[in-house]
């Protein structure tokens, strides 16, 4: 039986890595190790889903459109400073 020296990656290490690199396109040995861990650890996989859901909620939160008076006030303020130049 061949014994591979694979150091098990800790959940805390996975959490830190995932939190820092969410949505990054990384293909490194560490990243592959993390992915493997995520496939085998339901708790870490759930944690990742939760993190993605949190980000998703903020991403879907719409910012209001620029109010018309806001544009008007901006143009008025800018005309005032351009006149003084």
């Amino acid at each position: 039986m061949t014994m591979k020296k694979i150091k098990a990656i800790r959940c805390t290490e996975v959490a830190k890595y995932v939190c820092e690199n969410l949505d990054e396109q990384i293909d490194s040995p560490l990243c592959r190790k993390i992915k493997k861990h995520l496939q085998e650890c339901p708790d870490c996989a759930a944690q990742l889903r939760s993190l993605k859901n949190t980000v998703g909620l903020y991403r879907r939160y719409p910012a209001p459109a620029l109010p018309a008076d806001c544009h008007k006030n901006l143009m008025t303020a800018l005309s005032a400073i351009t006149r003084t130049r």
């Binding site: 805390t12 620029l66 901006l74």
Partner: protein, 206 residues
């Protein structure tokens, strides 16, 4: 930029050059192109329409005054974001909201006394909201909670989160806007993500 008008994108360096040389029409074009983007970003940072409108105005006044300092080494939008970000930070300093801000470390560790990064299990996760035709509509109560949670973040973490996760900018560009390194940006992001996740877990459990 994700939301700016793209019609004149290829002409942007020329537009900036003309605006720098005093062409008012070119400057107005730049304002029209980016005003919605700036307002939207400022709103996401301060979660309030009035300070967002003030930040918009301050930003373009600064752009007008500092345009000659723009050397074209970075994208105009990156330079513009640096100015908006700076205005958001200055507004924050002036605001009483600063007093309401809590340290992420103390808030994140309040339950167990551990570093938030080490609090992996047990898991109380944020459930995926159901996909409906109104998927983009987040209900009022949830919005209030999202606002409250993000306003508790220190400003540098909040801006890092908005740039990277909400606006979808690359880590490299977000770091450049915040004038920091990519590892430092990622560290802020990690703290912001963990903090917001915890805040939403509490809300989902309630």
């Amino acid at each position: 930029m994700r939301t700016e008008k793209t019609a004149t994108l290829e002409n942007e360096p020329e537009l900036v050059r003309r605006a720098k040389s005093g062409d008012q029409r070119a400057f107005t074009e730049l304002v029209k192109k980016y005003e919605s983007t700036v307002y939207s970003f400022a709103f996401k940072v301060c979660r309030d329409e009035e300070p967002a409108a003030e930040t918009l105005q301050d930003t373009f006044v600064n752009v007008y005054r500092k345009l000659n300092q723009f050397n074209g080494k970075s994208k105009f939008s990156t330079w513009l974001y640096q100015i908006v970000t700076n205005n958001c930070l200055m507004k924050r300093r002036k605001s009483k909201l600063e007093q309401q801000s809590v340290s992420l470390d103390s808030a994140g560790s309040s339950h167990t006394g551990q570093d938030p990064e080490d609090e992996v299990h047990p898991i109380h996760t944020v459930p995926l909201t159901e996909t409906t035709p109104q998927d983009d509509m987040v209900n009022k109560e949830l919005r209030e909670h999202l606002d409250k949670a993000i306003l508790m973040l220190p400003m540098d973490q909040r801006i890092a989160f908005i740039l990277r996760d909400v606006e979808g900018r690359s880590s490299e560009e977000a770091a450049k806007i915040l004038k920091t390194s990519v590892p430092a940006l990622k560290s802020r992001l990690r703290r912001a993500r963990v903090f917001l996740q915890k805040q939403l877990q509490e809300y989902m459990k309630a």
